[in-house]
C-alpha cells in the first residue's frame, strides 16, 4: 500500500504544472466558443403616445419602435401589463381595456391587421415580409386608459416570423407609460399633511396651550438656560414629510449668541444656542418623540441625548412614507460667556412641514 501511494505521489507531482496550463486552455476555449443563449434583439426607439392622458378615458395609442433584426416579420405581439419585464407574470393595468381597439394608422413596416385582441392583448399580423423600413408606428383607436395613476404601466412587445405570434421571438422590448390627470378628481381621501406648533400641543393637533413662545429666563454665565416646545405631525401621503427649522440664532441688536453648527454638548460659560428633539440629562430638558408609528423620526443630528445643534434650514424630523400622528418635543439650550454684551436676546423659529417628492 505504501509503495503504491508513493508511486502515485511521484507521478502526480511531475504533472502538476501541465494540469494548470491545460485548465487555463480549456477555460479560454469555453469562453470563446460558448455562444449567447439567444439571438433576439431589443427594439430601439420605443415610445408610446397616449393622445388623452386622463385616467379611464377612451383614447388612441400610437406605439412606435425600430425593428432591429433583418428578418421576415409576420406578426407583432402587444401585451399591456403593469410590469415591463417580459418574463414576469403579466397583471393587466386596472381599468385598461383594448378589446375594442382598431388599427387606424400604420407607418414604416405596414400591411398589418389585428389578428386577435382581448382586454390587454393585441396581435398584429401580415403575410411574411422582410423588414425594409426600420422605424415604424401603429395607431390604435378605442383603447380605454388605466384608472390607476399612482403607478406606471407598460407595453411588452415581441415580433415573430409566424403570422400568429407563436414560436420564437425575433425582437422584443417594453414601453413604459403612465396616465396622469390634469386636475385630480378626488374619489378617495386626498393626501393631507397635519402640523401644529406651540409650547404644548395635543397628540392629534386638536388643541394647544396657545402659547407660541418659550421663555428662557435671564442669561447666566454659570448655568445653562433651557426651554422646550412641541410640534405634532402626521401624513397619509406616500412620500412622507420633512420638518425644517428656520430662523436666525438669538440676537440683541447686532450682538448674537453663536449657534452650535457642529453637534456638541452644552458648555457652560461659552456662547451657545442649540436644539434637539430627545430627552436630555445635561441639562434635564426635553422628551423623546411620542407616538406608536416608527416611520417618523428625529434627524440623526438632532436625536442624540445631551448633544445639541442649530443650523437654519436643517431637517429636524422626517418620515419617508405614511406616518400617523407623532409628537416631537424640541429642547432649546442657551449658554453665555462673560464677554457677551448685555441685552434682551430673542429669536423666532419657524418650523416648516412639507411633503416629499
Amino acid at each position: 500500500m505504501d509503495h503504491k501511494l508513493r508511486r502515485f505521489h511521484i507521478h502526480v507531482a511531475t504533472w502538476h504544472h501541465v494540469w494548470s496550463e491545460a485548465a487555463l486552455c480549456l477555460f479560454l476555449v469555453l469562453f470563446i466558443l460558448v455562444s449567447p443563449a439567444s439571438a433576439a434583439m431589443r427594439f430601439q426607439e420605443r415610445s408610446l403616445y397616449v393622445k388623452d392622458n386622463e385616467p379611464g378615458v377612451i383614447t388612441s395609442y400610437t406605439v412606435s419602435f425600430r425593428y432591429m433584426s433583418p428578418q421576415m416579420i409576420s406578426s407583432v405581439d402587444l401585451l399591456f401589463c403593469n410590469d415591463p419585464i417580459p418574463y414576469h407574470e403579466c397583471v393587466t393595468p386596472a381599468g385598461f381595456d383594448a378589446s375594442n381597439a382598431q388599427l387606424t394608422n400604420q407607418l414604416g413596416e405596414t400591411g398589418f391587421s389585428i389578428l386577435n385582441k382581448s382586454t390587454n392583448h393585441i396581435v398584429l399580423s401580415r403575410p411574411p415580409t422582410a423588414i425594409t423600413s426600420a422605424t415604424s408606428s401603429y395607431t390604435f383607436d378605442n383603447i380605454k386608459n388605466p384608472t390607476d395613476q399612482s403607478q406606471a404601466f407598460s407595453v411588452r412587445l415581441r415580433s415573430h416570423s409566424t403570422t400568429n405570434a407563436s414560436g420564437p421571438q425575433v425582437d422584443f422590448g417594453s414601453i413604459r407609460a403612465q396616465v396622469q390627470s390634469g386636475v385630480v378628481i378626488q374619489t378617495q381621501v386626498p393626501p393631507m399633511l397635519i402640523f401644529c406648533v406651540a409650547e404644548r400641543v395635543e397628540d392629534n393637533c386638536a388643541g394647544t396651550n396657545e402659547k407660541y413662545y418659550s421663555d428662557l429666563g435671564e442669561l447666566d454665565t454659570r448655568s445653562t438656560l433651557n426651554a422646550q416646545s412641541q410640534m405634532a405631525v402626521g401624513t397619509n401621503a406616500s412620500g412622507g414629510f420633512a420638518i425644517t427649522a428656520n430662523g436666525s440664532t438669538m440676537s440683541a441688536g447686532t450682538s448674537v449668541i453663536e449657534p452650535i453648527n457642529q453637534l456638541s454638548e452644552s458648555k457652560v460659560g461659552s456662547d451657545q444656542f442649540g436644539i434637539n428633539l430627545v430627552e436630555n440629562t445635561v441639562p434635564a430638558v426635553g422628551k423623546n418623540p411620542e407616538g406608536d408609528w416608527t416611520n417618523a423620526v428625529a434627524s440623526p443630528d438632532y436625536s442624540i441625548p445631551d448633544r445639541y445643534k442649530y443650523k437654519a434650514g436643517d431637517v429636524v424630523a422626517f418620515s419617508p412614507n405614511v406616518s400617523l400622528m407623532k409628537k416631537f418635543t424640541v429642547s432649546y439650550i442657551v449658554n453665555s460667556s462673560q464677554s457677551l454684551r448685555p441685552g434682551v436676546y430673542s429669536t423666532t423659529l419657524t418650523y416648516i412641514a412639507s411633503g416629499r417628492f
Binding site: 505504501d2 431589443r42 426607439e45 415610445s47 403616445y49 400610437t62 410590469d83 415591463p84 414576469h88 403607478q151 407598460s154 422590448g173 413604459r176 407609460a177 396622469q180 390627470s181 390634469g182 386636475v183 385630480v184 386626498p190 393626501p191 393631507m192 399633511l193 397635519i194 402640523f195 401644529c196 406648533v197 406651540a198 409650547e199 393637533c205 386638536a206 394647544t208 396657545e210 407660541y212 413662545y213 418659550s214 421663555d215 426651554a227 416646545s229 401624513t235 397619509n236 414629510f241 416611520n295 423620526v297 428625529a298 440623526p300 436625536s303 405614511v322 436676546y345 430673542s346 429669536t347 423666532t348 423659529l349 418650523y351 416648516i352 412641514a353 412639507s354 411633503g355 416629499r356 417628492f357
Partner: protein
Amino acid sequence: MNRLKSFTLAAFVVFVSTGFLIPPQTASAASAALSIVPKKNYVIEPGKSLNDKLVIRNIDSTQPLQLTMRVVDFTYTDDGGTPKLMLAEDAPQTTWSMKPFLTLPETVDIPANGSKSIDMNVNIPKRQGAGSYYSAIVYSSGAPEGGNVGLSASGVTLVFASIPGNVKEDLKLEKFGAYVDGKNGAKPSYKYFTTEKPKQMAYTLKNNGNVTEAPSGSIVIKHMFGPEIRVDDVNPNQSLALIGQTRTYAACIKLKEQQVSFNNSTTEAKTCDEPTLWPGYYGASLNLFYGQNGNKTQEIISSGGFWYLPWWFVITFVIVLLIASFFIWRVVRNVRARLYGPKTQKIRRRR
C-alpha cells in the same frame, strides 16, 4: 364745562395711548395647527390654463387660523426627497420655476375647526417649452410676540406641472446594491459586505435631463445556492428625481402593506419587513424603465451583488474551518508517517 372738556380730552388721550403702547397679543390668540395638501401634480399643454382648489383646514378647535401664502422655488436637499426651499425674498428664480404661472390669494383666514377651499390658477403661456416645472406654496402662521424663542408654524404644498412635448430625458445609473440602515439612526448606505440583514435594495440615478423622472421596473436578487427574490415595484411611492438631482431610490426586499386609520380615514401604509435571507453571496439585477408620454422609453439594466455574512455565521464558519483543518492536518500527518516513517520528522528537525 371746561373741566368736563378737560376730563373728556384726558380720557380720550389715555384711551388712544393705551391702544398704541400696549403690545398686541394677537400671536397668542391665533392657531398654528393646519392641515394641507402636501403635493399637487398637473399636466397642462402650452397656452392652456387650469383652475384647482387647495383645501386648508384649521385643526385647532378654539382659535382661528390666519395664514399668509406665497410661492417660492425649491430644489433638492440631498439624494432623498426633501425639498430645499428658497425662502429668501431676493432668491433668484429657477429655470423650472412655476412662479410666473401660479395665481393665489395672499392671505386666508379660517375659523376654528373650519376649512377653506382656496382658488388656484395655473396658466401656461403659449410658447412655453415642454418639460417639468415646480415650485412650493408656503402657508405661514403669524409671527408671535413675547418670550425669547418665538414659534411659528408653516406648511408647504409642492406643485409640479408637466408640459407635454419632446423633452430631454437622461438618467445615468451611479450605484446599485444592498442598502443597509446606519447605526443609531444614521443614514443608510450601500454595502457590499454586510453583517446586518439588508432590508432594502437601492439604486442611485443622476438626472441630466430637463424633466423630473419617476422610473419604474424591478430588481431580482438570487442567492448563490437558493431561490430568487423579486422586487416588483422599485419605486412604489412614484418618487421623483428632480432636474440635476442625484437621487437614491430604496425599495424594500419584502414589502409590508397595512391599512391604518389616519384622521378618521383609512390609508395604506407600506413599510419594509424582515426578508428571509440566507448567509452568502447574492447576485442582483436591475431593470429600469423611464420615459414621458410620446417620448422614447429608455431602459437601464445593471447587475451587482452583495455578501450577507451575519456574525453568527462567520463565527460558526471559522469554528468549522478550524475543526476541518485540524482533521486534515491529522490525516496528512498520518499519511506522511505511513509513507516516510516516523523518523522523517525527527530528521527534518535536526536539519
